[in-house]
Subunit: 211 residues, 2 copies
């Protein structure tokens, strides 16, 4: 019996395809956990949707009687279910957990507003844009030597790498890693993994099927 159910939108516009956050969960689940995918309407978000995801976003995961939103919380939960997603050693597990938070709260905190500005063309000569650009650049400058010195963030490939690579992948889409070759190489080796390739293809097919 399949207990793990991933819920995502039934459809999204072309631009975000390949980058919707269910890809983080698909990627983790492809490590060998059986799951199935359900859809909720993108256009008419109903009360049941908000009961699972109070911000009206996706994804969420149900595992038996537990429903979890936030990609970070879901990945931490899955990391506790599969040895393929978290190091076995206590210290490396702690390392993976802190990097999972760092991906979201030190890097994506800077990269998401940056991406919004780049995507929307708000990168004119304003002080606000410059500040966001410097904020991201500072974070990447500190991340660069870390990723130059190790293959994965916590000894072996883990949920921390899924999050960090997915966060950096969006920056790379907008050519924001030009000055950070170790970050770019890290994204390349993470996204070359069969579990990512499968997750991405599945997401693309899922949304294409609804066109």
């Amino acid at each position: 019996m399949v207990d793990l159910i991933l819920t995502t939108f039934d459809w999204v516009p072309e631009t975000p395809r390949g980058y919707v956050r269910d890809i983080r969960v698909r990627w983790a689940l492809e490590a060998g956990l059986p799951y199935r995918v359900k859809s909720v309407p993108f256009r008419a978000r109903n009360a049941e949707h908000f009961s699972h995801q109070p911000f009206g976003q996706v994804p969420w995961l149900t595992d038996g009687d537990v429903s979890i939103f936030e990609s970070g919380a879901i990945l931490l939960h899955l990391g506790n279910r599969s040895d393929a997603l978290m190091p076995a050693d206590r210290r490396n597990r702690s390392e993976a957990t802190q990097w999972l938070f760092a991906a979201l709260n030190s890097v994506e905190m800077a990269s998401l507003p940056w991406s919004i500005f780049v995507f929307s063309g708000y990168t004119g000569d304003t002080l606000g844009w410059k500040r966001l650009d410097e904020f991201l650049e500072a974070r990447l400058q500190h991340l660069e030597p870390v990723l130059a010195g190790r293959e994965w963030l916590a000894g072996t490939f883990s949920v921390a790498d899924i999050l960090m690579a997915d966060v950096l992948r969006l920056v790379d889409r907008f050519d924001g890693l030009a000055k950070n070759p170790a970050c770019r190489d890290y994204v390349a080796r993470a996204t070359a993994r069969p579990s990512f390739v499968k997750a991405r293809a599945d997401q693309m097919a899922h949304f294409a099927a609804a066109d």
Copy 2:
């Protein structure tokens, strides 16, 4: 023997005092875990600092031989150490964990860039600023009914409330909760707790001692 050591800066300028992120950890530790506080230079951040906190920020926590950075990771760690910081029930623990991530990745992701713009006076009539303001407003609109309907995010007061209240407190400082009375009331009742009052007073005294 005290195993828990919180490290923060030796000094910071006036403006961030009361809002430096070590306050999140002090607040949690005040739940009854014995700890002591160490300082690192604010101005000359050395290699040892970066070995504990790769982005050159604070705080970090050492617990015996484990060193943890990222306030979210630290609070999750402390939540697993104290019943006063995480609900006992399995489902409520999962609820607390997802809200801990939501505070960081759904709310602070929107509120931090907003705060940077407000603090720096970049709130002129630009499309970029409007987008950031709408981003935060949308998140607060969805959070409002949640906080109107419950005292704490996951049954009892938990590390999720420490993070969410601290995130919203900075928005409130810049009068960003005017349209969200339930969010404002939540900040008021969280920050009225003796553990927050003590944590804040300790942080103020710590930085004032270095003046």
